[in-house]
Symmetry: C2
Subunit: 327 residues, 2 copies
Amino acid sequence: MIRIGIYGYGNLGKGVEYAIRQNPDMELAAVFTRRSPETVKIDTEGVCVCHIDEAKNMTDKIDVMILCGGSATDLPVQTPELAKLFNVIDSFDTHANIPQHFENVDKSAKEFQKVALISAGWDPGMFSLNRLYASAVLPEGKTYTFWGKGVSQGHSDAIRRIEGVKDARQYTIPIDAALDAVRSGAAPDLSTREKHLRECFVVAEDGADLKKIENEIKTMPNYFADYDTIVHFISADELARDHSGIPHGGFVIHSGKTGKNKENNHVIEYSLKLDSNPEFTSSVIVAYARAVYRMAEKKDFGCKTVLDVAPGLLSIKSPEELRKELV
Amino acid sequence: MIRIGIYGYGNLGKGVEYAIRQNPDMELAAVFTRRSPETVKIDTEGVCVCHIDEAKNMTDKIDVMILCGGSATDLPVQTPELAKLFNVIDSFDTHANIPQHFENVDKSAKEFQKVALISAGWDPGMFSLNRLYASAVLPEGKTYTFWGKGVSQGHSDAIRRIEGVKDARQYTIPIDAALDAVRSGAAPDLSTREKHLRECFVVAEDGADLKKIENEIKTMPNYFADYDTIVHFISADELARDHSGIPHGGFVIHSGKTGKNKENNHVIEYSLKLDSNPEFTSSVIVAYARAVYRMAEKKDFGCKTVLDVAPGLLSIKSPEELRKELV
């Protein structure tokens, strides 16, 4: 059995707890929290909820520690620190900082002979894999990534900070015409506005100036100004009833040409349609936790990304079974 | 530079020749043929066309030999034999025989310290990867593979063997209702007939009994009897004008559930739309030839499938570049 620790018990940590149950070679060993452990109720009987300060005393009880904190402030500190004690895996998703995070984690993991895998999930993660495979196979081509339809937590938060807004939910939506143009193999140049639109469901405070809120949203730099944005004002009840899920998804589409005169066109498309963004991310992380465990057994120490992991290491099945049933 | 040999110069070998030009770290070293070399014209100047008997004298001139023969009789003999002399790669695609082929090739490759990769292409190949990733990430789910729309050489040949048939082209077509049912996450049980239909374009000999030909096609065991089959009789000119391409493609779709009570559904879809089946297969093989070369440098000898290869090894870019640009 692969003994898993969960470090941080929010949406992602809960998703990891459920995902472990789908993998009969794994067991949940402990959940670590910054809160008072007695205030945290988990869904698995007989498993210790421990304060994060206790983790350092449990290195012999955990094979892989799954870090479920946020990319902004938690993981840049936690992953390099915990990689001194455990084999670790995180879902660090600040794309621009991945090289620096990799360096920091690699240093710890190599010095303390651990395996660390960063940036597991779907983007970065499954989408990174698909960008890699497609561009390696069809080097004379162009790769596009679209996100949605799905909830963007960052954009929802940005709306909530506007004066007069009680609550909000923002959906990122890929534009069909752009998807179709890419699928045609035309390799179009697409502006930010042409690729995605943003749809916002806003609960305003009583008596708030709706025109002013709508204008503040639509003109907000970085978040909305470069997009076509639709704003709906709805009641708190409607928000709770129709917009409480956390769906997401997206597309990686690559088109490329082959042949003596590049006369043949090929389109590779990968898409995800996810009812729950955190639970799918958790499922990816748990599959990669198996790979981390196996790489640690082979003493293949250091920091890795999904690009460094042979796919077969993710599966509970043996290489023989995989060749027989799945190749 | 990675020096590539092409062993067998049909559609696939030609595709490899073109694909090498898209990869600036590779060069074509030689083409090997069973025919008289002087009768074979290749498209790259200054490159030797050699008889296959000369290959054994050129082990110091070739880093990776790409075997472009057929899976029925060529590769089962050639790949284990050539793996004694070269790092090799093939596109062996008889799924049921992959385990035996692997054993045979692995024995040679390990004994002679070579790297061999079998079954590169799109199915087996890219589709195998997608079946693996999806089922490892969402183990409580179901994977479906659909092929087409595309030309099946085997089915076209089967029609050509019928008395009174001059020429024929058969398209395998996935059925939209089945694709939609799978995409809905309903995880339906689908019969052979529900998944694909077969459309045939047949050129009959003058005075042939068309009704009889149509009946023979539709009732042919294994090839057509289990499918809904459409037969069109057309002229040789129409066949040449409208059906001379070799397009193909298909879909790997996996749906699976997560959550405390499996309340969340997720759909992962990978699809290919290929103008030229052999040229795309060649492009996959050439990317994996780079991985074979790198594994040989690391002395990671033996037989491999795509499931054993870390994705990053396929790319001309360095791990640092990939982390910065693509993860």
